[in-house]
Symmetry: C4
Subunit: 263 residues, 4 copies
């Protein structure tokens, strides 16, 4: 049994680059995910759903069967990864990021039978969680998240500054314009919506200042927004450069070694 | 014949820097392109088109003749580039990026005679394709595209994250506010318009949230937008730096060599 | 007495990393600050304040007692830092950034008894100053501010350019559209609100150009805004890289030394 | 006479860092500029102008006298810079950037007597040109402009791409929504206003798409806008880094030399 399980892990995780079956397997799962997303998007058109509802339902049953079998196969195959204990290998998979994503791809469907009165629309949104399965196949996303994770301390600092700016600007706006626009700025959390939409420079314009003091606060908030975005971008750019420099230092060391050997 | 063809390629591609005829040729074609764009822009004013319609039509006929002759000259001249096979040199040009652009500059005009009922306005937009001919003369654009192409893996990852954020935010918005704003958020694709306009921090404000849950989703979407823009910018900045570092490593190596020679 | 004072500084400033009491003390003060901010935010809901007003008042009295004792303890403890003069140690603390923040956390409460007719809502905003106490516990914020401070000369230049762009664009807009939109662009300062909201690319849309000349000014202002944001971001990214390079130079020097020793 | 002239240049240009008179002179001129800007801003309030019009007029006459004398003094003093020909030193100053700025600070006032029917409001805007005199005193601005100038080739490429995107998106928008919104998108130049406001992510919302095709074009334009801003920022960040690297290479060379000498 163990060789079959190990081969299955090899195929499902596509660990070998020149593995043709592994690549077809990747493509099949990715296609199923994209078809599922397309289905959820199309179903949202009332006219389409009314006409083809049965087809969508059929496809969902098929998808659930497909992803359930995939999940069970993975769970079974991972039993062989740890030579001492099958349970440990399975638990490691089940509690890994991808194990949780694979489970979340099918779980909501089964839960609806346990909780009868569940809103079916929430189930539909949850089907979009299947999108996360695609990241199985993209190591670039992991690199990106790693670069962000490496700078978590700097992002924490920006987050702290951002929180202070949001709270301060929304509190000021609430006290200054709360009386002038009671429908839009009735509380600090209501003013926070204005603050975030201004700081991120989105600026829908559904809430905008009408008093001179409010306009001054808006201008300051807009500047703080630009500064925060710049800080954010600066940290990310510097994080990517850090990776670059690290690789370069290694490269130069080797160059120097080769140089020293040659001389 | 061959020397004439080769000289023609030299002139049309402006391969020699100190070639006066080549420079005049560049200037002539660039001027024709800019005049064409100006004509398309001016024609869009109803008042101007009504009055000077005949002039614009005459200029278009002249332009078609000009660009057609240019295309045929290039096609003929490229026959001499490959010494073994004229057909191969011509095919290489015809299927290159610039060959396709040169063809697209005139093709739509001839197509209208094949398809009689064609909307003339589409023909006018297609005339703007001639703008791409200008990039013949700008190697900086190629450098830029190269820098972006070098980072295609990182951009792919950002694109994947962006796609997830767009789909997730628009699906959530549709389910949360679809009932409250049936005219604006009637389907997930409709909500995608809101999502993209928010994520890119454009924020026209023609679709904005009205329920508290929708406002929370908007705020999260705005933050994700800022993060995505920052990722994007960080990758591009890092890509330019990579070029910089590469050049610097080469420079330092030469410096070190010179240094070692001197000592 | 001195050993107790020095131990108290150690706990309150959490100078030793493995100090359990210091960590609990940090956590306690941070929790009080967050509870205070939550209270201010919740109080802003009229319905909540009407029902639970007495509770909020009680919590404020308790907070004032807590932060007052904390401030007095710090003031007392810092008397031991300078062995020669207790007054100097205390003065150094009292006039340091954190000393001022700690004082501002409680001072507004006591001031209301001196100035009887004071607007109570201003007192509530001032309670948000307690948020700044959190930065006691975040050295990352200091790193960030240091990076910005290192580039103050470049930021000064961007600030100067920004000021010129704001004044020029608002003056132009006022002269061009002042007559067309007298309610929104009645003076240069009024036009400055439009200018800042445009330059920062927020663009609420409450003030937007209606004449062709005004639209041209808006387009130029929007471009200048993008350029300014890019300059800003570029300086910050470069400042972070400078830190990076500085660290790398030190690292390489050590590497080279180790290398030379080994050879 | 020559020593006096040279001393005057020294004072007016503040070439010696520890020159007290030079510093006072700088401060005096900078204060006059800021007072002039304040005056122009305040005059724009109709109520203030009506009441204090005479004062503002008096201050303007005083300012013109002040800046005229300053200009003439500079012109006279620069006659001594070139030992061979006074005319050449004066011409060099008069046609330098600062010479032109100094002239523009006073010229509009005198021109009104030559052209009697001139709009007085244009004269007021032109008084803001005096702001540029401040850059006399900020070398950081020159560094900034130098960094931008060094990357003019890359900026040219971005500008070319931007021009194509603006023309293409506005032409598409005009053809797609021109009929649906004839009041807002009546011509390609009118659509360009929408295009620029979208590309720069300002998004006032005064012109926004109403047809599905227009919304798709808007989404693409918004993405192109984000990409252009990112390119822009990346080039600027990379330009600042280039300066950094250049300085670092020099620093390392010196380090290496010192190292080689020591060994």
């Amino acid at each position: 049994m163990r060789p079959i399980q190990l081969r299955l892990v090899q195929i499902l995780e596509h660990t070998k680059d020149d593995d043709r079956i592994g690549r077809y397997c990747d493509l099949l799962i990715a296609s199923m995910v994209l078809l599922n997303v397309t289905a959820v998007v199309l179903e949202s058109f009332a006219a389409i759903y009314t006409t083809y509802g049965a087809w969508f339902h059929g496809f969902e049953i098929f998808s659930i069967a497909f992803f359930s079998i995939e999940y069970l196969l993975r769970l079974w195959a991972y039993g062989a990864v740890d030579p001492d204990s099958p349970a440990r290998g399975r638990r490691d998979y089940a509690f890994s990021f991808y194990g949780v994503v694979d489970l979340l791809a099918v779980l909501p469907f089964y839960i609806q039978f346990l909780i009868p009165g569940l809103d079916l629309r929430i189930l539909r949104i949850l089907r979009l969680l299947r999108l996360l399965k695609l990241s199985h196949y993209s190591s670039a996303v992991e690199d990106l998240l790693q670069a962000i994770y490496d700078e978590r301390r700097a992002f924490g600092a920006v987050g702290y500054i951002l929180a202070i700016v949001i709270i301060a600007s929304s509190a000021l706006m609430y006290y200054v314009e709360g009386a002038a626009q009671p429908d839009k700025l009735s509380s600090i959390p209501a003013a926070m919506y204005w603050s975030v939409i201004s700081l991120t420079t989105v600026g829908y314009g559904d809430v905008s200042p009408i008093t001179p003091a409010g306009k001054v606060i808006s201008m300051l908030t807009a500047f703080m927004g630009v500064a925060t975005v710049a800080l954010f971008t600066g940290i990310i750019a510097s994080s990517f450069n850090k990776q670059l420099v690290r690789r370069k230092v290694i490269y130069e060391q080797e160059l120097r070694k080769a140089f020293a050997d040659g001389v």
